[in-house]
């Protein structure tokens, strides 16, 4: 198992946002997490990636107990994430944004002297990622000047640059137009053949289409987990989630 989450709990005040939630992510799969707004999906991401502390439970990543580890430690172990609300470096160029991400993987990454940017391996890797997310033409554009759809791609590119073994994508299509989200769907599909993905997504069609496995959350609890077929046939899910749309 790449990621094992065991009875994870998190409360804000009296509100239980995560209620003893357990699930596993296998190497190579794409697991989608769905559920109505306020189900605790983003909080789950925040706790797993070290943004919040959990109130109970265990998280194991690549066989190691990483409960309570800080974000930079987890990222260093190969756990990357994107954010639902764009969270990159708005005043830097696309190239600089992605290079920062790739920079995290190299030796002497915080060296004061070495001109590490000119290493071919870094340049190639940055190029490759820009190619994937179709931002190569915009390499020197400032991130804040990109169209929203391109910004969403940059958000994902930043997660990919760190060379992760697990990528957690928080609603990559959030706020995108129907047309824009088409290319995002293609992108996620293409990525899923290279790296293990955990995906939060509202677009049910998209989820059914790309996932190997789906987990349904409701009020901080897991109410169902299974293949897309099993989930679409599940009566409880129909009632609580799909019916509530």
């Amino acid at each position: 198992m790449l990621l094992e989450v065991d009875s994870l709990a998190k409360s804000f005040g009296r509100l239980r946002v995560l209620d003893r939630l357990s699930f596993n992510v296998k190497e190579g799969e794409l697991k989608a997490i769905i559920g109505p707004n306020g189900a605790g999906k983003t909080t789950l991401f925040n706790v797993i990636t070290g943004r919040y502390h959990s109130d109970g439970g265990r998280i194991r990543f690549r066989g190691k107990d990483v409960t309570g580890e800080k974000p930079h430690v987890l990222a260093g172990m190969g756990l990357a994430r994107s954010f639902q609300i764009n969270n990159f470096f708005f005043k830097l160029s696309v190239l600089e944004n992605i290079r920062l991400s790739v920079q995290s993987t190299i030796k002497n990454r915080t060296s004061i002297w070495r001109d590490a940017f000119n290493q071919d391996s870094v340049k190639d890797r940055v190029d490759e990622i820009m190619e994937w997310v179709e931002l190569r033409e915009l390499a020197n554009e400032l991130a804040r000047n990109l169209s929203y759809g391109d910004q969403r791609k940059l958000e994902i590119a930043l997660a990919l640059g760190t060379g992760p073994s697990l990528v957690m994508l928080d609603e990559p299509t959030s706020g995108m137009s129907r047309f824009e989200s088409q290319s995002m769907i293609h992108l996620v599909k293409a990525l899923s053949s290279r790296v293990t993905i955990v995906l939060i997504e509202h677009d049910i069609e998209f989820v059914m289409n790309v996932s190997d496995s789906i987990m349904v959350m409701h009020y901080g609890q897991k109410i169902a987990e299974g293949t897309p077929q099993e989930i679409s046939g599940n009566q409880e899910v129909q009632d609580i989630y799909l019916g509530g749309l």
Binding site: H72, A75, R99, L100, Q103, I112, D115, T162
Partner: protein, 319 residues
């Protein structure tokens, strides 16, 4: 400014700075050379200040502490052991790193306004110590320092005749400092500092230890402040608690903002303007700071990116 124009400008600037006083006293009288020495000493401190405040986004109101550490270490070494500038400089840097790692460790726990005032608190604590521990520091009377020397003891030494020889020394240190800072800013480390300024949370999600990088930036920054402090004390042959007073830190901010933070050369320019303008205005009125204050207020309202930011089309590294 791209790297090439930058280095050309730097080379031209350096050439002028060396050539002008060589023609002395025809063009530059000792009086102005004295001013230039102060401009360059402050320039060294401001280069360091910009790494932390301009590039990392951590505005400190406590850098006077390390200006003073440089000064008092010079006084201590020169009166007790040696007047050799290089030994004194090394000693001062070690003391700065010992104090700085503690202050930096705690201060970087906070950010924004809290960082401003926590650094202030630490610095004021040392100011009061310098002021009150009269047996060691001489209190408000300060300490008079013998002339500092450069060279190898018993072989060849010079006490750097003023103003010209001292000017060349300060200029050399300034140019080296600029080169170092420029390299740091263009390094992978410097790129991350800018990223921390823009969005420190995402930097940590990319796998970087932001806290440690901030401390590293802080340590580099204060090292230059200390170098400036040593030179300042050596030039004045005197230290007093005034070197640690928060108004010195305030001056660093004022000069940096005027010139343009996050541009390296901007703060140096700002420092030069304040010092030269102040020199001229003070011959007119004792309360010349009213004009500097007015200029500063107008700049904040109309050109918050400072002079360099205002004139530079590509001012995105400014704040």
């Amino acid at each position: 400014m791209n790297t090439r124009t930058n280095s050309i400008l730097l080379a031209v600037g350096a050439a002028i700075l060396i050539a002008l006083p060589l023609a002395s006293p025809t063009f530059i009288s000792p009086y102005y050379l004295d001013l230039m020495i102060k401009v360059l000493i402050f320039g060294i401190a401001l280069l360091g200040y910009d790494i932390l405040a301009g590039y990392t986004g951590l505005v400190s109101l406590g850098h006077a502490l390390f200006f003073g550490v440089g000064g008092y270490c010079t006084a201590y070494m020169a009166t007790q052991y040696t007047t050799n500038l290089v030994s004194v400089l090394l000693f001062a840097l070690v003391v700065t790193w010992l104090i700085g790692i503690v202050v930096g460790y705690f201060s970087t726990q906070t950010k924004d306004i809290f960082f401003v005032f926590l650094t202030l608190a630490f610095a004021q604590f040392f100011y009061l110590a310098a002021f009150n521990l009269t047996t060691i520091t001489g209190g408000d009377n300060g300490i008079t320092i013998p002339k500092m020397t450069l060279g190898i003891p018993y072989v060849w030494q010079t006490d750097m005749p003023r103003p010209f020889a001292f000017y060349i020394l300060v200029l050399a240190v300034f140019l080296v400092s600029y080169w170092v800072c420029h390299r740091v800013i263009k390094s992978p480390f410097g790129q991350i500092l800018v990223a921390i300024r823009e969005n420190e949370e995402r930097v940590s999600f990319l796998g970087f230890n932001v806290r440690w990088l901030k401390i590293k930036s802080y340590m580099i920054s204060i090292s230059l402040t200390t170098v400036a402090g040593v030179l300042f004390a050596a030039y004045q042959d005197f230290v007093s608690p005034g070197m640690i007073h928060w108004t010195i830190s305030g001056d660093f901010i004022l000069m940096s903002v005027l010139g343009g933070m996050g541009t390296l050369i901007g703060p140096v320019l700002g420092g030069a303007i304040v010092l030269l303008l102040g020199d001229w205005l003070s011959s007119i009125t004792e309360n010349w700071m009213i004009f500097i204050g007015g200029f500063f207020v107008l700049m904040i309202i109309f050109a918050p990116n400072g002079i360099v930011g205002f004139f530079s089309r590509n001012g995105r590294n400014g704040k």
